[in-house]
């Protein structure tokens, strides 16, 4: 039997079976994608002569990275940076402190249904609104300055951290938590002994990661008047002071690198 099966196969061409088995669907998807790409490309109006002129400025900016100017506007840069860092620290502390109870509430396996729904709603709203839009609204309400930025970052931290914390709690090892419950522990003790040890290392890791994100975001809040280095950066771009802009960007990159390095060390330690 196998001999005849083999005979029919010998000499036959072999092709890799396609990823999408249904031929119509496969060609439909491919054609649709190509048509979309063409349509998208056609509707983007590129002013190539303007782009060509811009190449000089692009080169100037790359050169500016080689010789950044920290000094001319050092006062502005320093104030902006300090404000960014201050906003980051304060917002991270407040944001993390608020996200822990909300994260607990948004975990289906430990929170009662009404609490769960409320907490999930908070998380959903916070995640759906981007930092910059929240910042615009808060600036309109609270006026210019770092308070709006601080509130924006705190709010964004809650959405990010609560969601991940809740997911972490939902996927934790049930038997450990059950063992603690079986000892007759009350709810708070149960959280402290059965849940906290399981999720704490990841919570610490995520918190540091969020500090990193908050710092990066704090650099743009200034564009809409919510404090931080963004305003200085915007001014530098407006005046084509690429060397000052390059200096600011380099400082941001270095701080982000340092934060990543520190978070690597801390994460290795807590795990």
């Amino acid at each position: 039997m196998s001999a005849t099966e083999l005979d029919t196969l010998i000499g036959r061409k072999w092709r890799k079976p396609p990823f999408v088995r249904n031929a119509t669907l496969r060609w439909g998807l491919t054609a649709g994608f190509v048509i979309y790409l063409i349509a998208a490309y056609m509707t983007i109006e590129v002013n190539w002569s303007r782009v060509y002129e811009g190449l000089d400025r692009g080169a100037a900016f790359v050169m500016a990275f080689m010789s950044p100017d920290f000094l001319t506007r050092w006062g502005d840069i320093r104030d902006g940076m300090i404000e960014s860092v201050v906003m980051t620290v304060a917002a991270s502390v407040v944001g993390i402190a608020i996200s822990i109870p909300i994260g607990l509430g948004a975990a289906r396996n430990i929170a009662p249904m009404p609490v769960y729904l409320i907490c999930r709603a908070i998380v959903a709203v916070s995640r759906a609104l981007q930092e910059i839009i929240v910042a615009i609204l808060l600036v309109a309400i609270f006026g210019f300055g770092p308070l709006a930025g601080f509130l924006t970052l705190s709010f964004a931290t809650i959405g990010f951290l609560s969601k991940l914390l809740a997911e972490d709690i939902e996927s934790m090892d049930k038997t450990q938590a059950e063992a603690i419950r079986a000892s007759g522990a009350r709810w708070t003790q149960w959280i402290n002994y059965g849940v906290q040890p399981q999720v704490l290392p990841r919570l610490i890791g995520l918190s540091i990661y969020r500090v990193d994100i908050n710092f990066r975001e704090s650099a743009i809040l200034g564009l809409v008047g919510a404090g931080g280095i963004g305003a200085t950066l915007n001014t530098a771009f407006d005046r084509y002071e690429y060397d000052t802009a390059a200096a600011i960007l380099l400082i941001i990159i270095v701080i982000v690198m340092a934060l990543e390095y520190i978070s690597g060390i801390i994460r290795a330690k807590v795990q």
Binding site: E45, N47, M87, V93, Q130, L147, I253, M257
Partner: protein, 271 residues
């Protein structure tokens, strides 16, 4: 030693006296830093506006509702532009991120001493700077418009995609690569048969994940003039046309939720 000997016999403590002192000291420093940061923010805030905030918020709310529904007719093109910025930006970013990731991964980099640090620097530099800042820079260089938005999104995404991809490359099973090498395959064949099939699912996941994020980011790029629906938002804010603002925010919210839904569906289909 957590077991202390006292005159009343051995006592078990979680930490030794030194450890718990150190522990409290760390907490004290943390709180002190937070208080200092808070004072900085508080000094820079005009508290009169803050006390007045509830009234202003109510005022904005009453002006913004109901949204100006018929304005949506003018939002078709900006939404299309926003989608294009996100999609084309993601595609271009992937083309740039793949080589960078292979150069950055320890097991595929041609030179650990020279090329890997350069690749890592590209990853950190593009990742640490927000797409709005890239957009500011590109507008200064090539002029405002959708094209600047596409490039800004793609540059910002390179580091993100390359980082996740190179981590996936470092986690592949070496035995499969070894097996392909042992057949006498060339360097490129080993790449195509031993490495690429192993990282392809990760790459697809990263692409969709980043596309979702890029939809969010491209909705606000217009605030600095880089095309998309953010342009309308910024124009409406400038003339304080709150009913238009509220409609645009609703549209953005819908786009973000839809993007997340699509990306979740596609990811589920891939894995």
């Amino acid at each position: 030693m957590p077991v202390l000997t006292t005159d009343k016999g051995a006592v078990w403590r979680r930490r030794t006296t030194g450890q718990s002192l150190f522990h409290w000291f760390i907490w004290l420093v943390g709180i002190a830093i937070f208080v200092v940061c808070w004072q900085q923010i508080s000094e820079a805030t005009t508290w009169f506006f803050v006390w007045d905030a509830p009234r202003i918020a109510g005022d904005i709310w009453s002006r913004a509702t109901p949204p100006k529904w018929d304005y949506i007719a003018q939002l078709g093109r900006p939404i299309w532009d926003t989608l294009n910025i996100a999609t084309l930006g993601t595609i271009i970013a992937l083309f740039m991120a793949i080589p960078v990731a292979f150069l950055a991964a320890r097991n595929t980099t041609p030179s650990k001493l020279f090329i890997r640090p350069i690749a890592l620097f590209i990853i950190v530099a593009t990742r640490s700077i927000n797409s709005l800042i890239w957009a500011l820079l590109l507008i200064a260089i090539i002029g405002p418009g959708v094209f600047a938005g596409v490039i800004a999104i793609s540059i910002r995404s390179v580091g993100f995609c390359a980082k996740l991809l190179y981590e996936a490359i470092e986690e592949i099973q070496e035995s499969q690569v070894e097996a392909i090498t042992a057949t006498g395959a060339s360097r490129w064949q080993v790449m195509a048969y031993g490495i690429v099939p192993q990282v392809l699912p990760a790459l697809a996941g990263i692409a969709v994940f980043r596309w979702d994020i890029n939809i969010r980011e491209s909705t606000v790029l217009g605030l600095v003039g880089a095309g998309g629906i953010g342009l309308q938002l910024s124009a409406s804010l400038n003339v304080l046309a709150w009913p238009q603002v509220s409609l645009i925010l609703l549209v953005i919210l819908a786009a973000v939720v839809l993007g997340e839904w699509v990306s979740a569906k596609v990811r589920a289909a891939i894995i």
